[in-house]
């Protein structure tokens, strides 16, 4: 598994992303009042980088191989572990400047990582080789833009700012991220367990099995 991880994970990209995540939160720590949108940007980058880790450009070769998607995903999770370690360390380092909500910020990153892993793994089970690239290209800028503009922040507090109030409710935000992360975890587990197998056996296959069992008798 370590050998697979060493070759399969895009380590240069993971390293750059991990350093950038740390840099973004270091900027927030430096001046949280004016540089706060970088916190949301870091969450988006984390989600995008998780997607890159789970891409399998050689899908045509590895999909028919005996190692299942769950095993390969576990091997590639070493890249995700590095990203989450960088995220956790950066949040811990900046914890004093997170308006008293370091756990909520930490949870945003973890939830975003789980959602990213769920979506990319689901797309992998559908036969797409590099869904992480598509994911990152959409998610990183979309989340960044959301963090910058904070549209509807009173009603949809994705990235609350300061001490809440008109800038978004921290409790509601944490609840929303927990629900989204939980749903992502369930989706990820289902995708890994099913590994692309259909929920129902196709009728034609069921009929063939029946006829095989009849002829065997």
């Amino acid at each position: 598994m370590p050998r697979h991880a060493a070759r399969a994970v895009p380590w240069p990209l993971v390293t750059v992303a991990a350093l950038l995540i740390a840099g973004l939160l270091a900027a927030v720590r430096y001046d949280n009042w004016t540089l706060w949108p970088l916190q949301g940007t870091a969450v988006g980058l984390l989600a995008g980088a998780v997607g890159w880790c789970l891409d399998e450009p050689a899908a045509a070769v590895v999909d028919p191989a005996p190692r299942g998607l769950a095993w390969r995903t576990l091997a590639r999770a070493s890249g995700i572990a590095v990203l989450l370690a960088a995220w956790s360390a950066a949040v811990w380092w900046a914890r004093a400047e997170l308006y008293g909500h370091p756990w909520a910020v930490l949870g945003q990153g973890y939830a975003a990582a789980v959602i990213a892993a769920a979506w990319v793994t689901w797309r992998r089970t559908r036969g797409e080789a590099t869904p992480g690239q598509r994911w990152a290209i959409a998610v990183v800028p979309a989340v960044t833009v959301w963090a910058l503009v904070r549209p509807l922040e009173r009603h949809v507090p994705v990235f609350p700012y300061a001490f809440g109030g008109g800038f978004g409710d921290w409790t509601a935000s944490a609840r929303g991220w927990a629900v989204a992360g939980g749903a992502g975890a369930v989706a990820l587990a289902l995708a890994l367990i099913r590994d692309g197998r259909p929920w129902r056996r196709p009728a034609a296959m069921a009929g063939r099995r029946r006829s095989q069992s009849v002829s065997a008798r």
């Binding site: 970088l38 995008g48 890159w52 290209i137 990183v140 800028p141 979309a142 549209p151 509807l152 009173r154």
Partner: protein, 297 residues
């Protein structure tokens, strides 16, 4: 056969129309445009929704810059890759890369027109909900200065963002480069937006920075401040940068007339440097503070 011998100009028109259609069908464009419409309407209907009220539309430029400029960068990078894939699939290339680059550049008309619609709405908002005297304009400058800043920060990014995406996609087509570029652009922009007094003199080098507002408000007095320089000449600088970016993107084609392009690139660089120097030298000589305390104090 006919395609390979068709003169470049008609082919450019056909391709440009096609790329404009592609831009118009990009989901990210519609996401950005819809969010921009929502933010603009909310700012119009409920002027206190932004950050305490009183500023009207004078600080609303982050909306189009992010939703049309930043998203435009991604959209254009995607369109460029799509164009390259189509060209590769065509085998023996019928259309040179420079023509495809020019056609892609033509599609910026979509975000540009959207930004102009936003600008018109922002001007109407300014007239209907005039800004408080404690914001802008005040003292040494009038409404024209404010309108120029709103144009530079709201409309020009709709041109510059997609062109930057085109430039990145041409020269740095690697995996993950575009999202990382977005993060870097946002990181530098947020550091250069004028909140740090040490950057006030030279911040105009960066193509997106505030010219007035409650800058440095966490450490300052809460009074609005107008930063030195001329926003009108800064628009010239930004447009020169856009032209420079386009020329460098076209230069990527090894079969283009690179000697001529080098001349044009040098001319655009000189124009940009000249406009930048004039931006710093002319206009407001020093930072000016509004004597009235800001609306959020």
């Amino acid at each position: 056969m006919t395609a390979s011998v068709t003169p470049t100009e008609p082919m450019l028109g056909v391709l440009a129309r096609q790329e404009i259609r592609h831009y118009l069908t990009a989901k990210l464009y519609w996401l950005g445009a819809a969010l921009l419409a929502v933010v603009t309407v909310i700012g119009f209907v409920d002027p206190t929704a932004a950050s305490g009220g009183g500023e009207s539309s004078t600080m609303s430029m982050i909306g189009p810059a992010a939703l049309l400029g930043v998203l435009g960068l991604i959209i254009m990078a995607g369109l460029t890759r799509r164009s390259d894939r189509a060209a590769a699939a065509a085998g023996s290339v019928a259309v040179p890369e420079r023509t495809r680059t020019a056609a892609l550049a033509a599609s910026v008309v979509v975000p540009l027109l959207t930004a102009l619609v936003w600008y018109a709405a922002a001007l109407v908002d300014y007239q209907v909900n005039p800004p408080s005297p404690s914001t802008v304009p005040f003292g040494p400058f009038g409404a024209g200065h404010v309108f120029a800043v709103m144009f530079a920060l709201g409309v020009v990014p709709a041109l510059g963002g997609p062109l930057l995406g085109l430039l990145i996609a041409r020269w740095l087509p690697g995996r993950g480069v575009t999202p990382l570029a977005v993060v870097l652009v946002v990181l530098v922009t947020i550091l250069m937006q004028g909140n740090f007094q040490s950057t006030w003199r030279w911040r105009v080098i960066w193509p997106w920075t505030y010219w007035y507002g409650p800058l440095g408000w966490n450490s300052g007095t809460g009074h609005w401040v107008a930063l030195p320089g001329s926003p009108l000449l800064w628009i010239v600088y930004l447009l020169a940068l856009c032209g420079l970016g386009l020329l460098v993107a076209v230069y990527h084609d090894p079969e283009s007339n690179r000697a001529r392009l080098r001349l044009l690139i040098a001319a655009a660089t000189v124009a940009a440097v000249l406009a930048l120097v004039l931006t710093m030298v002319l206009g407001l000589p020093d930072a000016a503070f509004n004597p009235l305390a800001g609306p959020n104090v």
